[in-house]
Amino acid sequence: MTARVIQRLDEADLIRAVQRGDQDAFEQLVRAYDQSVLRLAMNLLRSAEDARDVYQEAFLRVYRNIHTFRFDCSFHTWLYRIVTNICLDYLRKRKVRKEESAVVETPDGPVDRMDSFEQEGSHANPESNLRNLQLGRSIDAALSDLTPRERMVFELRHYQGLRLRNIGEMLGTSEEAAKNCLFRATQKMRAVLGEFV
């Protein structure tokens, strides 16, 4: 409902209403973008708790700083600048803590925290299950080899379908630099996943 309504409304009017302190307008604005923000955070960080924190922090920053939004870029770009900055901070902290992998040790052996969210319908075939498990771990390993910036560019292009020009704008860099980043990310990942390709 809200997404349909927001399409009809002039987004600029909505933003101006939020700038005047209209909290209901803010809620409508959030609902237009928050699903994709949450999906991005979830896919990048592979943790529901972290995705929740990114969501909260990003939209509160939007609310507190929307008076500085001057319409010199699209709201989508402005929002994603905030979201990607927060996610990059999380990824960098994880690099430092070496907790990039979603695999955690349990008394029953290593378990991928994301396994509960995927592999639907594969229970009937143990061989395929095992391959999926190995593939999943290899993908995690490949992703953990990327720098946070490469990871972000790859995520935004491959999974979120954004254009490299927009990605460059969001990350405060050029389209050319985003292209190089995507190329490096692809090469690194293909090197790790070679046996599956």
């Binding site: 409902m1 809200t2 309504v5 927001i6 009809r8 409304l9 002039d10 009017d13 005047r20 302190g21 209209d22 909290q23 209901d24 803010f26 809620e27 409508q28 959030v30 609902r31 928050d34 699903q35 949450l38 999906r39 979830m42 896919n43 592979r46 529901a48 995705a51 929740r52 969501y55 909260q56 939209f59 509160l60 609310y63 507190r64 994301m114 969210f117 995927e118 593939l135 999943g136 993908i139 292009r157 491959h158 999974y159 254009r163 490299l164 292209k179 995507l182 190329f183 692809t186 090469q187 990942m189 293909r190 996943l193 599956f196 390709v197």
Partner: protein, 316 residues
């Protein structure tokens, strides 16, 4: 273009990020080079491997995030905000409860479910209206692990560094039942009026809207539409009234909302509902709006609606 350049460009070609000229030169090369064609196939296989790895957030996460966010936003100071600034007692209560029970998070269960499915209602502060508070003083150790502090009644310094704090303690309960159950309906009707949490009101009205045949529910939907400060709730109420526009009382209320509601999204939705039944009073309201409406889109929608109803745009 040689093989080395093509191999370097293949990932960008796959993502459609090459210029049309480079793309054309790369395709020319691919037609005549089996080795680069294999490289292209490997790129496609690689991408296909990754696709199933996309994770979706758990079902309730989005709803919980929205509720947490709006709760924080309603506590923020904002110029022109309808709600007043942060309530010091509330902040104190939450800080106090968090201190005692760090695991407690102040959000409700997201319970949007299809019609006739079993409804699970997570009630936080809301449950306080239906459960007896535990009055009187309580030691920290005496607080229940699932308790929520709903009010601090007094704070008194005692002897030897002790402090006495009188709290009202409520307990969170999960109540489940079918939508047809009158007790469940009663709770939902109360939840639809829950002042402190627009998220609870939105979800409640969303569930209730399927029961528009009940006079009590219809009355609650009309009340939400005319009095709820949150446009999300009002839009849900409008959804619930969609099949009731033949009722003159509903149409009269819709016409009033069209003239008074501050939210253009709500006004547009009302127009859509009103034109389902052509009557002279609707035409009059729409003609009035064509003259007085500030929002260009709403005004245009009014004109279109009048045309759809074969009525004149202006009055004579």
């Amino acid at each position: 273009m040689n093989c080395e350049a093509v191999i370097k460009a293949i990932p960008l070609y796959f993502y459609g990020e090459l210029s049309p000229e480079t793309e054309e030169r790369l395709e020319d090369h691919l037609h005549g080079c089996a080795s680069c064609q294999r490289e292209m196939e490997r790129q496609k296989s690689f991408a296909a491997l990754l696709d199933p790895r996309q994770t979706q957030p758990p079902v309730n996460l989005l709803g919980e995030c929205r509720q947490d966010l709006m709760r924080s936003v309603y506590r923020e100071d904002a110029p022109g905000a309808r709600h007043s600034g942060p309530d010091p007692w509330r902040l104190f209560r939450e800080a106090f409860a968090a201190l005692l029970h760090p695991g407690i998070r102040f959000h409700h269960v997201n319970f949007a479910q299809p019609l006739a499915a079993v409804i699970l209602i997570g009630l936080g502060y809301f449950s306080a209206r239906f459960t007896a508070a535990s009055p009187g003083a309580a030691s920290v150790a005496g607080l229940s692990p699932d308790a929520v502090i709903s009010a601090i009644r007094s704070v008194q310094p005692g002897s030897s560094g002790q402090v006495q704090i009188a709290v009202d303690e409520t307990r969170r309960r999960m109540i489940s039942g079918r939508l047809e159950d009158s007790n469940i309906q009663r709770l939902l009707l109360a939840a639809a009026r829950e002042e402190s949490d627009p998220g609870v009101r939105v979800e409640s009205v969303d569930i209730l809207k399927t029961q528009g045949g009940s006079a009590e529910v219809r009355s609650a939907l009309l009340e939400a539409l005319t009095t709820d400060p949150n446009p999300g709730v009002r839009l849900k109420a409008l959804d619930g009234l969609r099949n009731l526009t033949a009722d003159p009382e509903v149409r009269k209320t819709l016409a009033q909302v069209l003239l008074k509601d501050a939210n253009p999204g709500v006004r547009i939705q009302v127009i859509d509902l009103l034109i389902a039944h052509k009557d002279s009073s609707t035409v009059g309201v729409l003609q009035h709006l064509v003259r007085s409406e500030d929002n260009n889109y709403v005004r245009m929608r009014c004109k279109n609606a009048l045309q759809e109803m074969n009525a004149s745009v202006g009055t004579f």
